[in-house]
């Protein structure tokens, strides 16, 4: 499975990458905001997108909307991992078609649960 991690903080990308590797996913690409993620999503065949919200350039919510608007990625599962914890933001992400939402700081167990749930739903 090919995964794209989008976060402006390199430390957070490394953490998520390590956690995903721990869960058995090793085909991972990184991008530091929506603007650099979009071309990758257009050309690469990604199966899963993990994105932060608050990033300079294109924030995660705009990236999510752009992903849903492109035919190639319209159905791509998207997990948001973010420090944004306002209710209105979670609602906005849900309305934009997010598949899962994790608030930072989070645990490895939470990440595993949400990923499992997302793929269960897609396969089911």
């Amino acid at each position: 499975m090919k995964i794209l991690i989008v976060d402006d903080f390199a430390t957070m990308r490394r953490i998520i990458k390590n956690l995903l590797r721990d869960l058995g996913y090793s085909n991972i690409t990184e991008a530091d905001d929506g603007n650099s993620a979009l071309p990758l999503l257009q050309t690469g065949n990604f199966d899963f997108l993990v994105t932060d919200w608050n990033m300079p350039g294109m924030p995660g919510i705009e990236l999510l909307k752009a992903v849903r608007a492109m035919p190639k990625t319209a159905k791509l599962p998207v997990l948001m991992v973010t420090a944004e914890s306002k209710r209105e933001q979670i609602v906005a992400a849900a309305q934009a078609g997010v598949n899962g939402y994790i608030v930072k700081p989070f645990t490895a167990v939470t990440l595993k649960e949400k990923i499992d749930k997302i793929f269960e739903r897609i396969q089911g």
Partner: protein
């Protein structure tokens, strides 16, 4: 000193010198009094000018509502944010140290046990071992192999905890970026205030470009919406407090 002032001073000085030469004590005292009065009135004029500038600066300060807002709201908010950064970095440091301290002895134990078993194994392969010693060795190998996976798992768990503890960098980084933006904005407002109030401006840095001011305004708008939540900084009902809250909210939306 102005031209007319200069002539007046010169006239006074000449008249003073003449009167001293003539031994005209009354006139000498009168002229000295005149000179000191003139000097005082100059000082008063300067003082008056300074007072007016200061007064205007204070008025400007009161009129710049953004500065009042910065001082009353943003600075305490920034202090709260910076304190939160201290709390988070301290927690992360403690979490990392605890995880490391816990597994350090486990690693030492694994190393010592392997070394001991290896030495005895060497004796055995060189046939320097009694049957009784071999039975002990065999028993110790068995218990070592039994405990090694548990120890390895403990090390893995703690390393993973060390990994997760590094998430503070992301959150504190976001908070610090916002405080830096606030400091920049504060600086711009103060510079504008000083420039506009008629105080000496030569030593002050030039005011930021309009573009920069617009960028800051736009940035502070996004600041209002985005970024990590600081405990006590926003109405509590607007913010979720745990992953469970997120899950509950999403499931209420049909997720």
């Amino acid at each position: 000193m102005e031209g007319t002032d200069y002539e007046q001073w010169l006239a006074r000085a000449q008249s003073l010198a003449e009167n001293i030469q003539m031994g005209n004590d009354d006139a000498v005292n009168r002229i000295i009094d005149e000179i000191s009065r003139a000097r005082e009135s100059m000082l008063f004029q300067e003082l008056g000018k300074l007072t007016r500038e200061f007064h205007e600066a204070l008025n400007g300060f009161r009129l710049d509502a953004r500065i009042t807002h910065l001082a009353q709201e943003n600075i305490p908010d920034a202090k709260q944010r910076l304190n939160y950064v201290i709390v988070m970095t301290e927690q992360a440091a403690n979490r990392t140290l605890t995880a490391v301290e816990e597994v350090m002895p486990v690693c030492e134990k694994l190393g010592a046990q392997s070394k001991d078993l290896h030495e005895r194994w060497e004796k055995f392969t060189h046939r320097h071992m009694t049957a009784a010693a071999f039975r002990d060795l065999s028993k110790d190998v068995g218990s070592f192999l039994e405990s090694a996976p548990t120890d390895a798992e403990k090390i893995r768990t703690n390393l993973s905890d060390v990994l997760m503890a590094q998430d503070y960098q992301d959150i504190t980084g976001q908070i610090l970026q916002r405080v830096i933006r606030l400091v920049n904005e504060m600086e711009e407002h103060l510079v504008r205030l000083v420039t506009g109030s008629g105080l000496r401006t030569r030593e002050v840095a030039p005011p930021a470009t309009p573009q920069a001011a617009v960028a800051t305004a736009a940035a502070s708008d996004t600041v209002a919406v985005h970024g990590p939540h600081i405990p006590g900084s926003a109405p509590e009902e607007e913010v979720v407090h745990s992953q469970d809250d997120v899950d509950a909210l999403l499931s209420s939306l049909g997720f």
